[in-house]
Amino acid sequence: TLLGFIVTDLPIKSSALQTMLTGAVTRSFNCISVDGDMSTNDTICMLANGAVDTPVIDESSSDFKKVSSQVTEFSKQLAQLVVRDGEGATKFVTVNVKNSAEFKDARTIAETIANSMLVKSALYGQDANWGRILCAIGYSKLGNYESLDESKINVSFIATDNSTPRELKLIANGVPQLDIDESRASEILSLSDLEVLVDLGTGSEDCQFWTCDLSHEYVTINGDYRS
């Protein structure tokens, strides 16, 4: 279960607060997965008590956008801490899907990759089995293929430690790179922070999604949770 709350001393009109929180959650807490299970209790709430002496902020205020983006960034940090603490997790994985015709398609593809047991197992084993990433993209439950054009898709592993070459191309414009540098792939996958980049090349919508690997410990924890 995901629980959380964000609390501020700003005065914010309750309808504007709901818009602010909903927008922030769409790009943060609704873009994480540890195990693909949605709890019966998930709740994120926000309180604004107006203790700071300043005019009430509503959706027409000049500061509404600025405060909204600060709340969104704040929510991303909180959401990522949950993933970093995923049960049994040894890897923190960012799935970056960009240049999609539709945000919802980018999110569906990112979530499908993030929830693939085979992708998560391979990342735990530091196995550059990138075919599983493409497979997950291929079975993503998209309404149509407007965002997914096989001839335009690029998939890469991205090094998160500033080492070079930063990007390891796995698929370039729909063509699988069958001679990838396996030792470079192992270097990248040995890091505790990983990034999978999927460039759909069909638009300009992006979605960042965060997940973790699947380890033996996850099964150990959940095999006897109630005890």
């Binding site: 540890v34 195990d35 019966t40 709430c45 040995s190 380890s215």
Partner: protein
């Protein structure tokens, strides 16, 4: 083996200090619901009286919403998110799949806090833990009575960190972040956030 090298996540991600917004006090304790005397009950309350507070929330879209989710949604609907002055969190028992009795238990917890803060319809609830078991009401209401009766509320860093610990279940570290920001006219304000979660995590809240 190399994949399972353990990171010291507590050292990496748990702050040692914080900045906290004006007008809030927090308290937490071990009510006995969790084993090994772990913190399992927390309350955050708004004590600012200069104007009514605002509240907003998003909830699970799982069809079988737990009692605290159903209850909190009703409170926000009834108040349009105005005048919410307390959030009660408990861990160890999710009060989920507990039917009408679970809803009644949730109502009793909120009523007790509303009376203690002298408000109506002013308390939201959050629960997490084992599904399918009712709240141990004697421990929860006894714990709430202790927090208020012995005025355990404070706004210091340690109290906020303990609140973050009180909502954990299989988490390996408490999740607490805080920061100050400025509006365009330079007015300073503060955000503090607490989250929990380690398993059964793939939210799609609305």
């Amino acid at each position: 083996q190399s994949a399972s090298k353990t990171l010291d996540k507590y050292a990496l991600f748990v702050p040692k200090t914080g900045v906290f917004p004006k007008g809030y006090e927090v308290a937490s304790l071990a009510s006995g619901v969790k084993k090994n005397n772990a913190l399992d009950l927390g309350i955050i309350r708004n004590v600012n009286k200069s104007r009514k507070s605002s509240a907003a929330a998003v909830f699970t879209t799982n069809r079988f919403k737990a009692a605290p989710v159903q209850f909190s949604r009703k409170v926000l609907d009834a108040t349009s998110g105005e005048g919410i002055d307390a959030i009660v969190v408990n861990s160890g028992c999710a009060n989920a799949v507990t039917g009408e009795l679970g809803l009644q238990d949730a109502g009793k917890v909120a009523t007790q806090v509303n009376e203690l803060i002298g408000e109506k319809n002013s308390t939201l609830l959050m629960s997490t833990g084992v599904i399918g078991q009712r709240l141990q009401m004697d421990k929860i209401t006894g714990g709430i009575q202790t927090l208020f009766g012995q005025n355990k509320f404070s706004s210091d860093f340690d109290s906020w960190l303990k609140l973050a610990k009180s909502i954990c279940t299989t988490d390996t570290f408490p999740k607490l972040i805080s920061a100050k920001f400025s509006l365009s006219d330079g007015t300073e304000y503060t955000l503090v956030g607490i989250s929990k979660g380690a398993g059964m995590i793939c939210p799609n809240m609305a």
